[in-house]
Every structure is written in C-alpha cells, then in structure tokens.
C-alpha cells in the first residue's frame, strides 16, 4: 500500500467504517510508515480537539433572548394562520423541497 492509498482511506479508518480486511492492510502500513502514522494521529487529534472545544457555545442570556423572539414570531404566525385557515392547511409538498 502506498501513502496516497492510505490517505484516501483515512476518513473511513478514523470513523471505523471499513471492512476488516482493508483495516488490517492500513494497520500494517501504519506499522512501518512513520509519516502516515503521524498524519493519522494528528488528524484524529484535530477532530477530538474541535469536538471538545465548546467553540461557539450559546450563552444563556442570548439563548433566552432568541427563545423569546422565536416563540413570539411563532405565535404571530399561528394567529395569522388561525385567521385564514386555508393558508395553514397541510401542504402535500415533499419535505425535501
């Protein structure tokens, strides 16, 4: 296996979504290829650091403000829909549209 082949499989390897045979081949490559070993480990760390970073958390005060705004707008929408029920009838359009 070449390093470029290893890289192509890296995402499936890190996500553990590959067949045991390919996984064994990749692990055999990692045994002797230091560069791929380092790239694999540091990519794994990259994911873990972002996952645990709590980057862009929603502060409580902002959360409360956003909730109030959303619910107030939903109530407005509901009042308008109740006033003209034909507009609120379930639309047969697909959810993917």
């Amino acid at each position: 296996m070449k390093c470029s082949d290893f890289l192509k499989e890296l995402t499936d390897y890190l996500d553990n979504t590959m067949d045991p045979h390919t996984k064994a081949e990749l692990e055999e490559h990692l045994q002797w290829c230091h560069n791929c070993y380092v790239v694999c480990n540091t990519t794994k760390s990259t994911i873990e650091i972002y996952r645990g970073s709590e980057l862009y958390e929603l502060p409580d005060d902002l959360r409360t403000r956003i909730h109030t705004a959303i619910i107030s707008k939903c109530k407005c929408h509901q009042l308008n829909a109740d006033a003209s029920p034909s507009k609120h009838a379930a639309d047969p359009e697909k959810e993917s549209s």
């Binding site: 995402t11 990519t43 990259t46 980057l55 959360r63 956003i66």
Partner: protein
C-alpha cells in the same frame, strides 16, 4: 445531539410526539424542540457564517421557517436533519449576502487533490491543546476553521462537531455520500495542516 431513530412499528419517539403536537399548533411542544436543538443550530450557523449576529438571525429564522413548514415535514427523515438542512440554507444565504463578490455554495468543490496532501509531517505534543488557555485555544480553532472553504467547514461541523452520520450529513446538505466523504477528508487534512504550527512538538519537549 440526541440520536432518535424511527424503526418499523416501534413506539413513536419523544421527538416524533413533540413534532406532531407542534404541528397541531401546540407552541409549548415546539418550544421543547427549540430547547433541544438551539445550541446545535447556533454552533452550525456560527461555523458557517463566522459572524455572531448572522448566527443569531439564522437560529431565529431557521426555527420560524421550520414552524411555518411543519405541514411539509413528513417524517421520512429525522426532524433534526430536516432542521439542519433549513439552518444550513439560511446560513449560506447570509454568507452570500456578506460576500457577494464570492460564489458561496455547498457544491463548491474546486480544490485539487494536492491541496489536502500533507506538506508538514510533524508529531504534536501530548495533549497539545493544554499548551493554551481556553480563550487562546478558541481563538486558534476559530481562526483555523475560518480559513476553510464554506463547503468544507459545513461538512466538518455537521460530521465531526455535531456528530451526524455521513448519511445524515449527505441528506441535510443534499449531497451524495462520496461527496461528503471527499469534503470531510480534505477538511480534516487541511485543518490538521493549519494546526501544525500551534501544536507541533517543540525542541526540548521530551515527553513521549
């Protein structure tokens, strides 16, 4: 993220019950859905827009749009995946408004394979993030992900930060599974490359 599956004839999940109640006009039920997913939507929105005000607006608009269109949600996908799709579209629309000079698209796939090939192979210190204060680390991670193309960071945040499966990410972004995997690989490798300068082992660091 709370993973809730609908399989065969199993009892409806709590989420399904909330969605049904909200669809019948129960605003309290919809509020529960907002509380369940608002943090996720905010994180996704801020990762994509890289702007806090836009992210706030995206959260509001995405939930309002979801409420207004609950009649169209037929339960073929999870409510959360459907909500994420709405939020991503809103976020990309905001980004386009701020950067009208640039084409911003989730289909953006202009880089060559070489762009993600590792250039610097350096081992990192053990627990490299602990070299920095929490504020410094957030600054580094924020600046680093900001440099990725929007289509790459969108896939990265859905898959690796929010923990959606590859299939759910593909459904939310209306991309194929191979396209998600390709962007995810390149996003991960580009982030790794950019973080090297902050996290690589320094001379004199003899820890294993």
């Amino acid at each position: 993220m709370e993973a809730i599956e609908n399989k065969g004839q199993e009892a409806p999940s709590e989420e399904t019950i909330l969605v049904e109640a909200a669809r019948s006009g129960d605003i309290g039920a919809f509020e529960s859905l907002v509380r369940r997913y608002d943090r996720n939507v905010f994180r996704i929105a801020q990762h994509i827009t890289q702007n806090r005000e836009d992210a706030e607006d995206v959260v509001q608009d995405a939930f309002l749009k979801a409420y207004q269109n609950l009649g169209q949600f037929q339960g073929q996908s999870k409510f959360y995946t459907w909500l994420v799709r709405i939020a991503v579209n809103e976020a990309l629309m905001r980004l386009r408004r701020r950067r009208p000079e640039r084409m911003v698209s989730i289909d953006e796939d202009v880089k060559t394979e070489e762009d993600s090939m590792p250039r610097e192979i350096a081992d990192w210190s053990p627990n490299p993030e602990q070299q920095y204060t929490q504020a410094e680390l957030k600054d580094i991670l924020g600046k680093t992900i900001q440099g990725l193309p929007p289509s790459f960071r969108t896939v990265f945040v859905l898959r690796d930060v929010e923990g959606l499966s590859t299939e759910e990410t593909a459904a939310a972004l209306e991309l194929s599974v191979p396209a998600v995997k390709s962007r995810l690989l390149r996003a991960r490798l580009q982030l790794r490359e950019r973080l090297n300068k902050y996290f690589k082992r320094r001379d004199g660091d003899t820890r294993p």
